[in-house]
Symmetry: C2
C-alpha cells in the first residue's frame, strides 16, 4: 500500500488470464484511466499538436522532459507561470522524465560523478549540472503531477560489471531523489528500475526500488535495440518483484505490440516518440496495418488514412490529400498525421481497458494481432 499518497492509484479490475489491469490514477490535475499512452511533448509541446488536438485524440496525461525544459526556456521562466501546465496551455496531468536518458543520449561531452552529471547544453554549448536533488527541485518548479527520479540509462549492450556499476549509481540516486521529495507537494515521484538485461540485476533493482516506497514505478533502459524476448523477460522479472498495487510505467515503449504485451504483463503507462515521429516521416498506422503516405499508390486514393478511424484527419481528409500536403511540406500535414497516430495509440489502449473491464482481454488481443499482421503499404 502507498503510505505517502494513499489514493494515488487504484485498480478497478485485473484480468483473470494475465496481469493486465484497468486502474485509475488520481493526480493534482485530474484522473487518468489506465492503461494509457502519454504523448511525448519533449520541449513543452507535442510537436505540431496543440492542447486542443491532444484533448480531441483522447490524451489524458502527457509527457515532457526535465532536461530540455531545464535548458530551454529554463525552470525560472516556467515558475513565473506557476508551472508547466499554464506555460504550455495544458490543464491535464503531466509526467516529466528526469532527463537522465537525455543527458546520456544527447550530450557528447559529459562528466559523471556520484554527485551528479555535468554536461554541455546542445542548445548553446553552456555547461550544466544535474544531481538527483536538483532533478527533483526542477520538477518541483515545473509543477508536474508525476516526477521521475534521476537515473543512469545503462547502454545496450553492456557487460554484467558495467550494468551493475550503473545500477548502483541509479539506486543511490533513487534514494537521494526519494529523500528530496516532499509528498506534501501533491506531486508523485516514480522510482526507476534499471539493471539492463541481466535478470538477477533487474530483480535486485526492482526489489531495492520497491523498498523505497515510491508512489509508482517505472522500467527504464528498454527499447535500446535489444531483442523483444529480452525486453519482455526484463519486464516480467521486474514486475515480479514490484508490488502489484502500484502503477507501472514502461519508459520509451513503443510499438502497438509493445503496448499490448506490456499491458498483459501489468504495465499501466507508456510513452514513445514512435507515433508522432513516424507520422512526421510519412508512416501512418491503421487498424489494417501501416501505410507510408509517400507511396505513389496513394496519389489518387480518396479513402481516409484509416476508414475505421474517427480522428480529425480521417473524418475530413483523404490519403491523396495528406500525401499532397506532405509533398508540399505543409505543417498541416505534421499536425494531421500526428493527430491520427496518437488517436490510434490512445484508442488502442482505451479499447484494451474496456476489454479488461468486461473480461474480454484475450479476444481484444487476438483481434488486434489478426488486424495488424498486414503491411498495407
Amino acid at each position: 500500500m502507498n503510505l505517502n499518497l494513499p489514493n494515488f492509484y487504484s485498480i478497478e479490475k485485473t484480468d483473470s488470464h494475465s496481469q493486465a489491469r484497468a486502474g485509475i490514477l488520481n493526480t493534482a490535475h485530474g484522473r487518468v484511466l489506465t492503461p494509457t499512452f502519454m504523448a511525448v511533448g519533449t520541449q513543452g509541446a507535442v510537436k505540431a499538436v496543440g492542447p486542443d488536438d491532444l484533448k480531441a485524440v483522447g490524451s489524458q496525461i502527457i509527457l515532457s522532459n526535465t532536461y530540455h525544459l531545464y535548458l530551454r526556456p529554463g525552470p525560472e521562466i516556467i515558475r513565473l507561470f506557476g508551472g508547466l501546465h499554464r506555460f504550455m496551455g495544458w490543464s491535464g496531468p503531466i509526467l516529466t522524465d528526469s532527463g537522465g536518458y537525455q543527458v546520456f543520449s544527447l550530450s557528447a561531452i559529459r562528466k559523471l560523478t556520484p554527485e551528479g552529471v555535468t554536461f554541455k547544453s546542445p542548445y548553446d554549448g553552456s555547461q550544466a549540472f544535474i544531481s538527483p536533488e536538483k532533478a527533483v527541485e526542477i520538477q518541483n518548479a515545473l509543477g508536474v503531477d508525476i516526477m521521475m527520479c534521476l537515473d543512469e540509462c545503462t547502454p545496450y549492450p553492456a557487460t554484467l560489471a558495467e550494468t551493475e556499476k550503473s545500477l548502483n549509481l541509479t539506486l543511490d540516486w533513487a534514494r537521494r531523489c526519494r529523500e528530496t521529495w516532499d509528498p506534501g507537494s501533491g506531486q508523485a515521484l516514480f522510482g526507476i528500475v534499471q539493471g539492463g538485461f541481466y535478470p538477477e540485476l533487474r530483480a535486485r533493482a526492482a526489489e531495492e526500488i520497491a523498498s523505497l516506497d515510491f508512489p509508482g514505478h517505472a522500467l527504464g533502459g528498454l527499447a535500446l535495440g535489444e531483442p523483444a524476448q529480452e525486453r519482455l523477460l526484463a519486464v516480467e522479472t521486474a514486475r515480479g518483484k514490484l508490488p502489484a498495487e502500484k502503477p507501472l510505467y514502461l519508459m520509451g515503449l513503443g510499438t502497438p505490440e509493445d503496448l499490448i504485451q506490456g499491458v498483459l504483463r501489468g504495465a499501466d503507462l507508456f510513452d514513445c516518440v514512435i507515433p508522432t515521429r513516424n507520422a512526421r516521416n510519412g508512416q501512418l498506422i491503421t487498424r489494417r496495418g501501416r501505410l507510408n503516405i509517400l507511396n505513389s499508390r496513394y496519389k489518387t486514393d480518396q479513402n481516409p488514412p484509416d476508414p475505421d478511424c474517427g480522428c480529425l484527419a480521417c473524418r475530413s481528409f483523404s490519403r491523396s490529400y495528406l500525401r499532397h500536403l506532405h509533398q508540399n511540406r505543409d505543417p498541416l500535414y505534421l499536425r494531421l498525421a500526428s493527430v491520427h497516430n496518437l488517436y490510434y495509440y490512445l484508442e488502442l489502449l482505451a479499447g484494451l481497458r474496456q476489454a479488461i473491464l468486461s473480461g474480454k482481454t484475450e479476444n481484444y488481443v487476438r483481434t488486434f494481432y489478426a488486424q495488424n499482421k498486414t503491411e498495407i503499404d
Copy 2:
C-alpha cells in the same frame, strides 16, 4: 446589372462619406459578407492552418491557385474528388487565381505568345502550357466558386509602351476567357484590370473589362513595389470606370492599412500572404501594433500576443510560450501564429463591415489609425 448571375452580388449599404460598402456575395458554396479577406491557400491548403482553424478565425472564402494546383497534384486528381472543396476538406466558397502572376514570377524559363504561355514547372522541370481557354477549363475542373481570367501581370516599373503591350494581351485573354466561360456552371468569372501605373491605361483597361460584363472585377498588378500613392491612384482610376454594383477584388493586397484604404475606395475582397507569411517569420500583428516574437523582451512575457484578441493563440498561450515554440521550430508555432494574424485580418474587415452598416465608418477608421501607429516591438 449582372445579366449572367443576377443574384451574385448585392449591396446592403454604401457609406455616405466614402465608397465603402457592405455587401453579400452569393456563391454555389454559400454567402460571403463583404468586405472580407481571403486567406491564401496557394497549394490547396493554407500553410499550417486546417479548415477547422479557418472556420474558427472567421474565414468565409479562401483563395487557392490554379498554377500550383495544375502542376501539383494536377486537375485530374482534383476532378476525382469532384472538385477542390472535397479534396482540401473546405466546404465554403473558394476563389482561384488563374496562375498568370505565378507564371511570370516563378517560372524563369517561359515563352509568351498570343496563344498562351509555355513554362517550366518548378516542381519537376517538365514543360507546361496555359492559355486563357485552358485556365478556365482547369478552374472548371477545380469546381471553384470564383474563377479568375488569365492575365499578364505587368512588372513594375515598366515603360508606357511595355505596359500597353502587356495590357493588350491581358485584354485579349480576358475576352477569350469570357467566351470560354459557361455562366450555367454556377461558377463566377472575374475580369482583371491591369494597366500598370499609367492612369490612361488603367482607365482604358477598366472600361474594356467592364464592357465584357463579368460578374465581378479585380485589380491586378498592384503591390509590386510601387509607392502607396501610385497604388491608390490606380485603384481610384479603375474604380471610377467600373460599375459600382459589381464586386471588386484587390489582388495581392496587403497590409491592414491597404485593406482599410481599399474598402474606402469601394473594394470588397482582398488576399495577401502577409498575415500568414509574416506570422511564420515571427511577426504578429496586434491592435496596438506589430510585435516580433523573436525579440528577447518576450522571453518572460506572460501576456497573450494581443490582450484584445479572441483567437486560439491569444485565448490559451503567452508571448513567452509562442517564442519558445518558435525557438524550437515547433510546427505548432506556425499554426498558432498564422491563426492569430488571420483572425486579426478577418476581424478588422468584419468590424469595418459593421461600422459601414451602422454609419460609423469614419470613426472606425480613425480608431484603427490611432491604435496602429505604434510599433510595440
